[in-house]
């Protein structure tokens, strides 16, 4: 068993996380965390739907931003997917999706300001990068045979539509509808930086300890996600897409001169802007790297590695909740609800809540990341295990878990976990905005100081870090020969 590369890799990751834990800060610093938690629970039990008079508007805006953002992202992503063989397109897509929606929002806020376009592009751009990649993978898996038998002179578009597109269609629809759910989460979270979505009101309500309103907002959000399948129907979709742009609200008018100012002044490093030359720029960059980027990278890596391993552990513990080999009908339904709640709560929101309850340390961040991502992987793993057929005389209980099911799902488990690695890191960076000293903390500081040159360098570093982890994860998957199926991709 110890000779297995899979086991060695797993143990390596666990050892690394334990080492990281020694450097991390896990203190609970609130005086009475349980009392706060109790108040939050009371808020969920007795939500105050009347306190939030803007509830309807928050809900409408959350939906509108998600539909327009995801719609635009899917459309552009589809076009890019057709050109995905080009290195430029691939690199460009990898780059735009390495930058989190919230960072995109912070960038657009600088020149579009509080205009709906800020929120729409913040979702559409990274989503286009993700759609392009996944759509391209789906196309690659289609059977090339039909296109070879097309008569000479068939138009390219028609050829595409009747061969690859028609085969891939169910998978495309499947993935796009999954992404819409992600889009709703992103849209809600954009409220934290000022878009008029659920997050906006949630943050204000939390800040004032209005747990009744918090409960109402959270419950609405869960209902929205849980009922997604009931109201998002293929036939209704065009109607939603047409209506959504009109429901974004008006915001403040865009002043176009701000856009050129942003690109020609704001993001030019201060020493260059002030004519201090390359020498001044070098000193500026070095200072930025030493005092902000390095500590930020260090904390981002620490937190990512710890969160990754705890995510994995949690997923392995939780997947039996929805696996037919371990649960009955009632237990399975309860398990399902548990996992749905876990994965539909955005990490950012969860970290924000836990931070209020436990005080600032890496603990809320790790728990938030592990709960959300663990929930997703456990869900997919549970589904995977349900495809297994065990022998009639297979053992039951713990023996079944250890000797029958786990060995069979461990490969897919690692593949999923490595896939989430980059996502966990992207989230880790963004959690810095909440006050944990990862890269996002320094990005936020630079923006608060209206120093966009610095913020952009730090965002670029974050993107490179994410791309690096993505490449590493792909190599590991290849080395361990972990097959990765896009259709079960979260």
């Amino acid at each position: 068993m110890w000779q297995s590369a899979t086991v060695r890799t797993s143990l390596g990751f666990i050892a690394l996380a334990i080492v990281c834990a020694f450097f991390a800060d896990f203190q609970i610093s609130t005086h009475d965390p349980w009392q706060e938690l109790g108040r939050l629970m009371m808020g969920l039990v007795i939500p105050d739907f009347l306190a939030v008079d803007f509830l309807g508007e928050a809900l409408l805006r959350t939906l509108a931003f998600a539909f327009v953002g995801v719609g635009l992202g899917a459309f552009v992503g589809l076009l890019l997917a057709l050109a995905f063989h080009s290195t430029w397109v691939r690199t460009g897509c990898a780059f735009v999706r390495a930058i989190h929606e919230l960072f995109w929002a912070l960038i657009f806020l600088q020149f579009f300001g509080l205009h709906p376009l800020t929120g729409v592009l913040a979702i559409a751009i990274p989503y286009a990068g993700i759609f392009a990649k996944v759509y391209a993978e789906i196309f690659d898996e289609t059977d090339p045979q039909p296109s070879r038998v097309l008569p000479q002179g068939s138009g390219r578009a028609a050829g595409l539509a009747f061969t690859r597109l028609s085969q891939a269609w169910p998978h495309l629809v499947n993935y796009t509808s999954y992404r819409l759910e992600c889009g709703l989460r992103s849209s809600a979270v954009l409220g934290f930086v000022g878009m008029p979505t659920l997050g906006y009101y949630l943050e204000s309500a939390f800040a004032q300890g209005l747990y009744g309103s918090v409960g109402a907002l959270l419950i609405l959000f869960y209902v929205l996600i849980a009922t997604l399948r009931l109201w998002v129907r293929p036939r209704l979709l065009p109607f939603y897409l047409l209506a959504a742009p009109f429901l974004l609200g008006s915001g403040l008018p865009i002043v176009w001169s701000n856009v050129s100012r942003f690109f020609t002044q704001d993001i030019v490093p201060a020493p260059l802007r002030n004519g201090e030359g390359i020498g001044g720029f070098g000193a500026w960059l070095l200072d930025l790297l030493a005092t902000q980027a390095l500590p930020g990278i260090w904390n981002t890596l620490l937190l990512t590695q710890i969160a990754l391993v705890i995510t994995g552990a949690l997923a392995m513990v939780l997947f039996p909740l929805i696996s037919r080999h371990f649960t009955g009908r009632v237990g399975g339904t309860l398990g399902h609800i548990t996992l749905v709640v876990m994965r539909s709560t955005p990490e950012y929101l969860l970290a924000f809540i836990l931070l209020q309850l436990w005080g600032p340390s890496m603990l809320p961040a790790v728990v938030a990341l592990a709960l959300h991502n663990g929930g997703i992987i456990a869900h997919l793993l549970g589904q995977r295990s349900n495809q297994l057929t065990l022998r009639q005389d297979a053992p039951h209980g713990l023996d079944r878990y250890v000797y029958e099911v786990t060995p069979r799902v461990y490969g897919p488990f690692l593949a999923l976990l490595f896939y989430r690695w980059e996502i966990i890191m992207r989230e880790t960076a963004i959690l810095g905005i909440l006050g944990i000293a990862t890269l996002g903390f320094y990005v936020d500081s630079a923006i608060q100081e209206i120093r966009f040159d610095r913020a952009l360098v730090l965002i670029l570093i974050t993107a490179l870090l994410n791309i690096g982890v993505d490449v590493l994860a792909r190599r590991l998957r290849a080395r361990l020969r972990l097959r990765h199926n896009v259709n079960c991709e979260p």
Partner: protein, 284 residues
């Protein structure tokens, strides 16, 4: 779907003609954000009546967002803190401070401590504070970040991160008060008017938290207006706005700041804040 998207773009990019002649203002979200809209809607109504133009209030989520909106000419007037006002005027040539609250000419920051620290009311900075946890307010706040950091550095001779075991940014003053009251942080620094307001409103248990030190006085909050409003809204518009602000004497309006009245202010009044900002490396 494509048609829908095109339409979406068209709607998004269409300039909102209706708002062309609307005078828009904002305020830094320094305390209870849920009340911002209510607090400032009345002010918007008042200004609208005095100035005879449409006046709109737009709430924002952070100090930087207020500065950015002002810089981007999406708002023309703002109720800034001392430092955010300096940042805004640095970035918008020609803009000027119009008025400050009566209290703002001699503003102070309170350093507060949780009862469990054993620190006594009014005992000042001491080495006993070393190793404790400490929270500022917003990163861009004058009374919650700039001035307290300045005095901490002056007393301890090192950055606050070296003095305290943990340094946080609560986001706003009321949150600082509640975080220290709950013991999440042992120490905190905040705007004294917010503190006294919260105490008067009974939101804070003064058995749990006490004021251990107050800073010397410095100038803080002010109304700042863009230099190009006269071109857009007519000659003398900025002066009329200033007069309207100075004339504001309805206690209900003033309570939302909370200030007892407004007095004239100028950019020079804030030179000291600018220097401190530069000294702390927050301004280039």
């Amino acid at each position: 779907m494509i048609r829908g998207l095109m339409l979406a773009l068209a709607v998004l990019l269409a300039p909102s003609l209706a708002s062309a002649e609307t005078f828009v203002f904002t305020a830094i979200p320094d305390e209870d954000e849920t009340r911002l809209q209510q607090r400032f809607q009345k002010v918007a109504d008042y200004l609208s009546e005095e100035l005879e133009v449409d006046v709109h209030f737009v709430p924002v989520k952070s100090y930087a967002a207020a500065v950015t909106a002002f810089r981007n000419n999406q708002v023309q007037l703002a109720w800034f803190g001392g430092f955010s006002g300096v940042q805004a005027r640095e970035h918008v040539p020609g803009s000027r401070a119009l008025a400050q609250g009566v209290e703002d000419a001699e503003f102070v920051t309170y350093f507060i401590a949780h009862e469990s620290t054993g620190l006594k009311a009014g005992e000042g900075f001491s080495d006993a504070m070393r190793g404790m946890t400490f929270t500022f307010g917003s990163k861009g706040s004058t009374s919650g970040r700039l001035m307290p950091e300045y005095y901490l550095r002056e007393h301890f001779g090192e950055p606050p991160e070296d003095t305290f075991s943990r340094v946080g940014f609560s986001g706003n003053h009321s949150r600082t008060a509640s975080l220290v009251a709950s013991g999440a942080y042992q120490l905190g620094a905040l705007n004294y008017t917010v503190w006294e307001n919260e105490v008067a409103a009974g939101n804070i248990d003064t058995d749990q938290v006490t004021v251990v030190w107050e800073t010397p006085q410095y100038p803080d909050y002010q109304w700042t207006i863009r230099g190009d409003v006269d071109e857009r809204f007519g000659d003398g518009f900025a002066d009329r706005v200033q007069q309207a602000l100075l004339d504001m004497n309805d206690p209900e309006l003033l309570a939302s700041f909370p200030r007892s009245g407004f007095i004239p202010a100028s950019n020079e009044d804030y030179a000291v804040i600018r220097e401190v900002g530069q000294e702390l490396g927050l301004l280039d």
